[in-house]
């Protein structure tokens, strides 16, 4: 069945709003995760650390170049994800609407193609 990745795209504004209310955000997120587990749809969920702690490995040159985060002009940063096993795209969207996200953040809903859709390379 279709799997969907809900990708949290946070901004400085949404991060600040979240940090101002961190205890409540943590509690509602836990509750939301529990709800998805009980609905039988959650396969994985993780939240990411401060982007300032990350690095970027850039492959535009001949050799990969490593630079420290944050990442230049990017306004929205990948802050975490939920991997869902749902019946339809509409259901993935419906779950996405229920994510306790801080104002200013966005959630990108992307389908994970099944292994039968990936072109097979035979030896």
């Amino acid at each position: 069945m279709p799997k969907y990745l809900l990708i949290m795209r946070d901004t400085d504004e949404s991060n600040a709003a979240m940090m101002a209310n961190i205890d409540e955000m943590m509690a509602t997120t836990r509750q939301f995760i529990e709800e998805m587990v009980k609905a039988g749809v959650l396969l994985a969920a993780e939240g990411l650390d401060d982007p300032g702690q990350g690095v970027v490995v850039d492959f535009s040159g001949e050799a990969p170049v490593v630079t420290d985060g944050p990442y230049g002009e990017t306004k929205e940063l990948f802050g975490g994800f939920f991997l869902l096993d749902v019946a339809s795209k509409q259901e993935a969207v419906e779950w996405a609407k229920r994510v306790p996200a801080a104002p200013g953040s966005k959630i990108e809903v992307r389908r994970v193609p099944g292994s039968d859709e990936v072109p097979q390379v035979d030896e």
Binding site: M1, Q31, V37, K38, A39, G40, V41, L43, D85, A87, S88, K89, Q90, E91, V93, E94, W95, G114, S115, D116, Q120
Partner: protein
């Protein structure tokens, strides 16, 4: 909002709404009817104007329909009951849904839908509709039966529950384990319909199997201390992990020894193994043992490198806790791999002598394979042709006939 959006919300909310309404009205059938009316209304009104809170809209509408139904009913009966029921419904439904209580109510809903008093078909239909949130049309598609048949099963099921006065509660401790076994077997019936369709022209119907896995995950979350729930979940995940390799590009079945194991779904295998670890907390039950067998296959790089001795031992254990001719037949297949076809043939012939699996294509299928391996080609061909005549799945039948033809 379109139909698919309404269905998506309904899938998420169905069990909770029907559970809450059954708790408040004490009437499972009425609750289900009211919930269905709410969905029907949503299908009409949401495309015109989407509610700000779709889940709350469904719950409120279903609740109003339930109150209407009680009013209609009590008007015919007794004015005093009317007042009492009205008060009870109004105050109870207004309460904020209590999270712990709603979990127990969803669980109770599963127990009611899988009640032993219901016919097996009604259990499957009610579970998918009420707990899974599927429409009658979707259930009919899943089981390849006409929609009115599904509707009749659901209606009859609800009447049976009402006539017998089945209470909406968790089964008492003394019956709990057995009733849970009943729920598990309903989920497994749904799963096997998806993993080996009993009829039709497709071997696998992953969408049907998915519903069973999803319900098993729900049950595992609600009953985390029951090893067999995790055992069933593990069995389903590990079996479904092989789906991508089980059919060829034309939909024909690919048997285990010919499957491209690189196509197995490794994240499903990981989930299955994790569930199996939880299942083995206090010794494996029938589902856990079958999951352990599936896990042995899942962790083997090839048929030859499979630990067949371990599989034989697991089938022996399974035969002790859940004796069945199919288990015995599978043990024979494992014995053939571990110790050769002659010993396995003896097990199969014993099964035939005791006539414990009459009319099944499985026995002549296995017997034909074993005879072929022993070089008894004409006997093998006759068995495989017999198996093809008995087999209801067209895809499996053509594989059997192809095999028989190679023995000419």
């Amino acid at each position: 909002m379109g139909t698919a959006d309404v269905e998506a919300v309904w899938r998420i909310e169905s069990a909770r709404i029907v559970a809450a309404l059954t708790r408040f009205t004490g009437d499972f059938g009425l609750a289900e009817d009211a919930a269905q009316e709410a969905v029907a209304e949503a299908l009409v009104s949401w495309p015109l104007a989407s509610p700000a809170n779709p889940a709350g809209w469904l719950m409120a509408t279903a609740r109003r329909r339930a109150i209407d139904a009680i009013r209609r009913r009590t008007a015919l009966q007794d004015r005093y009951t009317l007042l009492a029921a009205d008060l009870a419904v109004d105050s109870a439904v207004d309460e904020e849904i209590d999270r712990d209580k709603i979990d127990d109510d969803v669980l109770a809903l599963m127990f009611v839908s899988c009640h032993p008093m219901l016919s097996p078909e009604a259990r499957v239909a009610l579970t998918l509709r009420v707990v899974g949130g599927l429409s009658s049309e979707e259930i009919a598609r899943a089981f390849l039966v006409p929609v009115p048949t599904v509707q009749a099963r659901i209606t009859r099921g609800k009447k049976t529950i009402a006539a017998a006065g089945v209470p909406f509660e968790l089964p008492p401790a003394a019956e709990r384990r057995e009733r849970l076994g009943g729920v598990l077997s309903v989920l497994y019936v749904i799963f096997t319909e998806g993993s080996t369709a009993t009829s039709g022209d497709r071997l696998l119907r992953p969408d049907v199997a998915y519903e069973a896995i999803r319900l098993a995950r729900t049950l595992a979350a609600l009953q985390p201390d029951e090893p067999e729930v995790h055992g069933l979940l593990a069995l389903c995940e590990l079996t479904a992990a092989r789906f991508p390799a089980r059919t060829g590009p034309d939909g024909s079945p690919v048997l285990l020894d010919e499957q491209d194991r690189r196509r197995w779904d490794f994240s499903a295998i990981r989930r299955g193994l994790a569930a199996l670890a939880k299942a083995s907390a206090r010794g494996l039950g029938p589902y856990g043992l079958q999951a352990a067998i599936a896990a042995t296959h899942a962790s083997a790089p090839s048929v030859e490198a499979t630990d067949w001795d371990r599989i034989v031992v697991l089938y022996e254990a399974l035969g002790r806790v859940a004796p069945s001719p199919v288990v015995e037949l599978n043990r024979a297949v494992a014995v053939a791999m571990a110790s050769g076809p002659a010993q396995a043939l003896a097990i199969v012939d014993e099964l035939i002598a005791s006539d414990r699996l009459p009319g099944s294509h499985l026995i002549p299928t296995v017997r034909g394979e074993l005879l072929a391996r022993l070089g008894r080609r004409s006997e093998a061909r006759a068995e495989l042709e017999l198996a093809a005549r008995l087999c209801a799945n067209q895809r499996e039948r053509s594989v059997l006939l192809r095999k028989a033809a190679t023995l000419s």
